[in-house]
Amino acid sequence: MGLLLEGVDKIVGREIHLKDIQLELATGSRTVILGRTLAGKTSLLRLMAGLDKPTHGRVLEDGRDVTKVTVRKRSVAMVYQQFINYPSLTVYDNIASPLKLAGIPKTEIDTRVRRTAAMLHIDNLLDRLPSELSGGQQQRTAIARALVKESRLLLLDEPLVNLDYKLREELRVELQQIFQQRDAIVVYTTTEPAEALMLGGDIVVLDEGRMLQVGPTAQVYRRPATTRVAEIFSDPPINFLPGKVHQGRAHLGKDIHMPLQQHMQGLAESDYTFGVRCNHLCIAPSGADDIQLRAVVELSEINGSETFIHVVYDGHRLVIQHNGVQQLKIGREVPVYVNPCQFFVFDAAGRLAAAPGEACRV
């Protein structure tokens, strides 16, 4: 039961927007669609909503083919990235409009509108017009209109992207609580890995119109199926180093010649790509197991309480996420430490060969 997309393609002109989408969303599930811009996130949401028709394939709702059913006849609500409200209606009428059209009695509309508005903290603004509200309040109104309908399918297309940092944090926490109370299928798109992790649920990693990996969010984060998934699901991007396994040791560039770690046991002798997230690289040793490599500082970027240090190691660029402010002279050679059990290993085709095990996780 739920929503099923079966072999869905979306081709516009000669451009492939979506290809071979095979996706099942259970009732009550929360799904995050993660992908960079132009990955096809919005196209996928529009297909789910019924705003666009797929070029090939079918969309099934509880086993019923709804591919050709217009959006008006589906039970769906959508929140856009831009703040979309009816400018000529007050906040109250905006929220009430889907209920009015459904022919629900006035008293019930009133209680539901007020309840939803209270949930989103806009109950004191009901008489205003959307243009008299701040961006955050406008988006709250749009979200309230989507929630009040209690539709089977709730789609949110990067709803927090146009809000400032503070409002985003606030609304993200609230949305999480709201989603938990619903038994609708919630689909949420984002470009930010951190947001995806915070929302939990399931994740679909989308890239250039194709689904790269589907699964529980935390699991996909821990075991990205390919280098591309690891890249998309890390912010700042994951560091890659080419290396090879030879006679029970892994060799990565000039400084790292480590014995195979526990999770790397069983790797055949071959060339591999080793990946390590930038929060696992340090400029000071953090444990006895750490190995040291020497790299040249290219840039150090201070981002409030943390510093991103860009270095070059043996011709490969790495980014180190350092907690705290650290000024480093450009061109200086610094020691970089990494715990070898934090390495992801990908084979020559870019598929995951080994991921850090439970024991190593910090």
């Binding site: 959006v71 008006r72 856009y80 979309i84 209606l89 209109r145």
Partner: protein, 267 residues
Amino acid sequence: MRVRKRTLALAAYFFLLVLPIYWMLNMSLRSNADILSTFSLYPVDITFNNYIKIFTDSGWYMGYVNAIIYVTINTVISLACALPAAYAFSRYRFLGDGQMFFWLLTNRMAPPAVFLLPYFQLYSTFNLIDTHIAVALAHCLFNVPLAVWILEGFMSGVPKEIDETAFIDGYSFPRFFITIFIPLIRAGVGVTAFFCFMFSWVELLFARTLTVTQAKPIVATMTRTISATGLDWGLLAANGILTIVPGALVIWFVRNHLAKGFALGRV
């Protein structure tokens, strides 16, 4: 110093603009004998006889009534055709949409005289000569393309997501269009109506050719007053002043949106 220069230049420009209108007002308040005999910068013996004649003689005041009737019909037809057309051009992509959109504008490039002869024959065949609807339809030739262009500009300024949200909420298309969409482009509709009104109100060639007596507009009536006794200067001037009034009134309502209208809604 610069400000004063600018003020002076503007004052001179304004003087030149207003002078003919003032002169017409001046003439409309004097009798013919007075106009032809003495030169005066302002009316000495003010008389309202010219205006009284217009408002009492049905040959004159019916000219205004006829013009208002066909201008209104034309504005309504133009808006009724242009609103859906502009929505289609603004929201949908279809084969040849760009070409068709441009073709609409080319209708305004031909001189009206080109269409005059075929129109006259066609309207005669259908017995439409000397009816209000004939002039109203003929003026659609210019006003519908213009209205489509202006409205398309205003409509494209409304995000498509509003339409989609309305459909998701369950609005039927007509209900969405009338209760949500048209209020959003209110200013555009007002400006378009003004442009339709203005072109239709001042147009002379079609209005004169397609009417005889029953639907004769004021501009045509004015051209037919030259008689053996000469021109009735005072009466013509009074007519001229009255012809300006409706335009001035309509401009007042859309004054804040006119610039956007002249840019065909694309600012």
